[in-house]
C-alpha cells in the first residue's frame, strides 16, 4: 500500500545500505531528486542496476556509494562519457567499481523476467558478441521444441526500485506517460519501491484505456517532488535541460570540481530546493 512520505523519509525507508537498487528511466523521467537524497543520506555499498546509467549514476559513483553497476549503456546521452564512472572503473577512485555489462535486449528481458517472477530471461541475442566471453552471467539454453540455442541472463531482482512519474492520485495510483522505458518492470520486480511525482491529483483524469498505471498496492512510497526529474525531462511538464548535460562534462571531468558541485548542489540543499533550481536552470516550459 503506497504511503505518501517526504522525499527524505521515503528514501530512508526504501533505499538501504547494501541494496541492489535501480533508479530507472530511459532518458525520460530520471529520478534525480531521489538520487540526490540517497547521496545526502550517504547510502553505501549499493549495487546499482540500470539500462542507461547517466548523470545521476555518475554522481552516486563519484561520491563512493556504489560497489557494482549492472548496465547496458553508460554515457552522458548526446554528450559523451561519464567521467566519474570512468575514473572509478579505470582508476578505482574514490573506490573500485565492479561492473556487470549486458546489451539493452538482455537487460530489458531480464527486467521483464523479474516482473514475471521467472528466474531467468531467454532471448535470441549475444550471437557473435564478445560480452558473452567477459560476463559469466550470460549463458544459453537449448529450446526443447526446436533445438535452437538461445541466450539466457538471470532475472533482475531488486531490493529497491526508484522511479519518477507525472502524477499520482490521492490513493497512490501512479500514471506514467511518454517514453516509459522499463520503469513498470523495475517496480514490479522490487521488494520496495519509491515513486516521486510531479503532481498529486484528486483523479488521474481523462486517459487512454491502456495508460501505463502502477496500482497503489504495487508501490511502497510516493513523494511529491515537482521538478524531481530535472535536468532530464518530464513529458507534459518540462523539457530536458541540455545545457546542464553539457556542463556536466566539465564538472565531472575533474575530481575537485565534482566534489565542489556535489557539496554545493546536493549536500547542502534539500529536495525543496529542487523545483526552484529546475526553474532557475531554465528547464523549458511546455507551451
Amino acid at each position: 500500500m503506497a504511503q505518501f512520505l517526504s522525499l527524505a523519509e521515503a528514501v530512508e525507508d526504501v533505499v538501504r545500505d547494501g541494496d541492489t537498487a535501480a533508479f530507472e528511466g530511459f532518458t525520460h523521467l530520471i529520478p534525480f531528486a531521489a538520487g540526490h537524497e540517497a547521496i545526502r543520506q550517504r547510502r553505501k555499498n549499493l549495487t546499482l542496476v540500470r539500462m542507461t546509467p547517466d548523470l545521476i549514476y555518475d554522481q552516486l559513483i563519484g561520491v563512493g556509494a556504489v560497489n557494482k553497476m549492472i548496465f547496458s549503456w553508460g554515457g552522458n546521452p548526446g554528450v559523451g562519457s561519464l567521467h566519474r564512472f570512468r575514473d572509478a572503473y579505470e582508476q578505482g577512485w574514490p573506490r573500485p567499481l565492479a561492473i556487470e555489462e549486458h546489451s539493452h535486449a538482455a537487460m530489458a528481458n531480464a527486467y521483464e523476467a523479474g516482473a514475471a517472477g521467472l528466474p531467468f530471461a531467454v532471448f535470441r541475442g549475444y550471437r557473435g558478441a564478445e560480452l558473452a566471453r567477459v560476463n559469466p552471467n550470460i549463458k544459453s539454453v537449448t529450446c526443447p521444441y526446436t533445438a535452437e540455442v538461445l541466450a539466457t541472463v538471470p532475472a533482475i531482482k531488486l531490493d529497491a526500485a526508484v522511479i519518477h512519474a507525472q502524477k499520482a492520485d490521492r490513493a497512490g495510483n501512479v500514471m506514467l506517460e511518454g517514453i516509459v522505458g522499463v520503469q513498470k518492470e523495475a517496480v514490479l520486480t522490487s521488494k520496495r519501491s519509491l515513486v516521486t511525482v510531479e503532481e498529486v491529483v484528486d483523479d488521474l483524469g481523462e486517459r487512454s484505456f491502456n495508460a501505463c498505471i502502477l496500482p497503489h498496492w504495487t508501490i511502497t512510497a510516493i513523494a511529491h517532488v515537482p521538478g524531481g526529474a530535472h535536468p532530464s525531462y518530464a513529458q507534459g511538464h518540462y523539457k530536458r535541460d541540455n545545457a546542464f548535460y553539457e556542463a556536466w562534462d566539465d564538472i565531472a571531468r575533474d575530481r575537485d570540481s565534482f566534489k565542489a558541485w556535489i557539496g554545493e548542489h546536493v549536500m547542502t540543499r534539500g529536495p525543496e530546493a529542487f523545483a526552484p533550481y529546475a526553474r532557475a536552470a531554465g528547464a523549458g516550459r511546455v507551451a
Partner: protein, 262 residues
C-alpha cells in the same frame, strides 16, 4: 552555390547524404543516435517520406522536426505513431523480425564490419572505457540488414578490434551462418570518403564507390588495413541542391531549438 573548385559541401554532409540515399521508402529502420539519426531523417524528408523510423526508446514511426539529442527525446515521442515499453521494443519489434534495416555507428570497425563501442584496450584494464553496446549486439543480428556510417580514419578503421561489441561478418565468409545468424548483417558502410560493401564471398569490406574529389590514396591512408577496391568503382553522385538544403535546414532547426532551450 559556390563557383570555386572547392566542393560546396563538407565530407560529413556527403556522408550523411549517401547514407540517406541507401534507405527506401518502405523500410522499417532501427535508428542509432548520431550520424545514423541525421541520415535516416534526411531520407524521410527527401525521397523516403513513408519510411518508418524506430528508436530503441520505444518510439515507432517517429517524425521529429529536429534531430534528437538522445534516443529518448520527448520530440521522438510527441511525433511518433505510438510509443511502446522498452521490453516490447526489443522483444516484439526487433527480435520479432519486424525491422528491415538497422543503422549503426561505432568507435571502431574492422574489415569484416564488426563494431566496437565498448572499450579501447583490454576489457578489464581499459585505456578508454566507452559507453558500451546498448542495443547494438541484437540490432546487428536481428535486423534483416545493417547499414553502418562512420567518419573514416586509421584510429577507427582498425586492423583488429579491441572488443567485438556487435557482430558484422565475424571472421568472414559464412561465419554469421555458423553462429546461427540468418540475417544479412552489414551490407553497406558509408564513410565521409567512400561507400564500402562486403565482398560476396570473403565478406571483406571493399570500396564500391568513391565520393567526389576523393582519391584511392586518401582512402588507403585512412584505413588501418590494406583496403581492397572493387573492380568497378562507381563515382558517388554529388549532393543535389535539394539534399543539401534539406539537410542544412534540419541542422539549423535543430541548433535553433537547442539554443532556445538554454
Amino acid at each position: 552555390m559556390s563557383t570555386s573548385a572547392k566542393p560546396a559541401w563538407t565530407p560529413t554532409e556527403m556522408m550523411t547524404i549517401v547514407a540517406a540515399r541507401a534507405l527506401r521508402n518502405d523500410d522499417v529502420c532501427f535508428v542509432g543516435i548520431g550520424a545514423p539519426s541525421a541520415a535516416c531523417n534526411l531520407a524521410r524528408l527527401t525521397h523516403a517520406p513513408g519510411i518508418t523510423l524506430i528508436y530503441e526508446s520505444g518510439t515507432i514511426a517517429t517524425k521529429p522536426n529536429v534531430l534528437p539529442l538522445s534516443i529518448g527525446d520527448g520530440e521522438l515521442c510527441e511525433t511518433a505513431l505510438t510509443t511502446v515499453p522498452v521490453p516490447e521494443m526489443f522483444r516484439y519489434w526487433l527480435q520479432g523480425g519486424r525491422i528491415s534495416v538497422g543503422f549503426l555507428g561505432g568507435a571502431q570497425i574492422d574489415r569484416f564490419a564488426n563494431l566496437n563501442t565498448t572499450v579501447i584496450g583490454p576489457y578489464d584494464k581499459p585505456k578508454v572505457r566507452l559507453p558500451g553496446g546498448g542495443g547494438a549486439p541484437e540490432i546487428a543480428t536481428s535486423c534483416r540488414e545493417v547499414f553502418i556510417t562512420m567518419v573514416q580514419g586509421k584510429r577507427s578503421f582498425v586492423d583488429k578490434l579491441d572488443f567485438i561489441t556487435s557482430l558484422g561478418h565475424g571472421e568472414g565468409r559464412d561465419h554469421r551462418a555458423r553462429l546461427g545468424v540468418t540475417t544479412k548483417g552489414p551490407t553497406r558502410v558509408i564513410t565521409d570518403l567512400c561507400l564500402m560493401e562486403p565482398d560476396p564471398a570473403s565478406k571483406e569490406l571493399t570500396v564500391a564507390a568513391m565520393h567526389p574529389g576523393v582519391t584511392r590514396e586518401q582512402i588507403a591512408d585512412s584505413t588501418g588495413w590494406r583496403v581492397k577496391f572493387s573492380g568497378q568503382i562507381a563515382d558517388t553522385p554529388p549532393p543535389t541542391p535539394e539534399e543539401l538544403s534539406v539537410l542544412r535546414d534540419l541542422h539549423a532547426r535543430t541548433q535553433a531549438a537547442n539554443a532556445a532551450q538554454r
